[in-house]
Symmetry: C2
């Protein structure tokens, strides 16, 4: 199986995302290049109008081999769970046939995401078995254009790191913010859970 | 389509769960009866050895019509995301073809779960659109047999309620704990994310 493209996905990806994953080199070595691929997923998702301005991918940490991709497909899949990180993790589980991506015998895996995880995705990362998370935009950058990230534990970074999941933030942050701004300027839909009652 | 049984599921349910859902009456009126059905899902999941001791379901709040069921199928689906609540919510989205279960025009929906949500499921509930969550066991009851629930915001109940999601706890708690204890006594597998480093 070609890396990065699961045979079947619990969250169906648009065909452009599968083609884009297939066009990637076998290994993407530099962390910033991995992130730029993920930001390209986010950007193409909004220009193709297939979802929100978020992308993610799972890579082998050492080799840079692409294991799985994810984009926000909440609207086209009619599923509130289909955040980019959840989709990427679900596809990685499917591709590797492993519910623990940190199981002995697997290469160390990392999640690259164009935005810090929301409350749900923070929890999903904890259970997934990835050993590292690299984020571009801050959660506050997403809320700045109207998305609701919902409260995580205040010490969420320390919680991940205490459990052996390294966290890197702000890699290519400006490029990810630019995708958010483009989405906002294009009048992209901001769907939310319920607004906080005031 | 028969209620409670999606035509296709992003997380495949074992056949016994589909049969059990089909055998339910069209409406389950009492909250405790809804919870007992969910605890029966959790119990059957361990006796059938198809996953962990957790069950959940989405109901129409007023009528008691069963919309979707979920059980923990992390191991058989090879997916760390496949907690009972996530599976039930994903199936509800699939059945109703709606990414917002609280959208105008839909009856109010509620999630009944045999255990309080973990960190991930707390976030998933926020995004789902359900208007109420009813829990049996406490998170601390799950950690008492070795499961890792991971830190949620300390005020997670208030966070849900502030966003219009009512929370009821401890309904049939002892019955849900009994399922946990049975799982533990049977030597059921306790899979975790990484243990907290000490």
């Amino acid at each position: 199986m070609k890396s990065g493209v699961p045979s079947t996905s619990p969250f169906r990806l648009p065909s452009w995302a599968i083609r884009l994953a297939r066009r990637q080199p076998n290994q993407i070595v530099a962390a910033s290049d991995r992130m730029r691929f993920v930001i390209q997923l986010a950007l193409t998702n909004i220009t193709a109008q297939t979802g929100g301005p978020f992308g993610a991918a799972v890579f082998e940490s050492h080799t840079g081999r692409l294991i799985a991709v994810g984009i926000n497909v909440v609207e086209p899949t009619n599923c509130s769970l289909a955040h980019a990180e959840v989709v990427a993790l679900a596809n990685a589980h499917r591709t590797l046939r492993q519910f623990d991506l940190g199981t002995p015998g697997l290469p160390k895996l990392e999640l690259i995401t164009s935005c810090e995880p929301c409350a749900m995705c923070y929890g999903a990362i904890l259970w997934s078995g990835v050993r590292k998370v690299v984020c571009a935009a801050r959660g506050s950058d997403a809320t700045a254009i109207g998305f609701d990230e919902a409260p995580k534990p205040k010490n969420w970074v320390a919680t991940l790191e205490d459990r052996g999941i390294a966290v890197t933030r702000d890699l290519c942050r400006d490029e990810a913010i630019a995708v958010f701004q483009r989405y906002q300027q294009a009048g992209g839909r901001i769907y939310n859970a319920r607004k906080r009652l005031t």
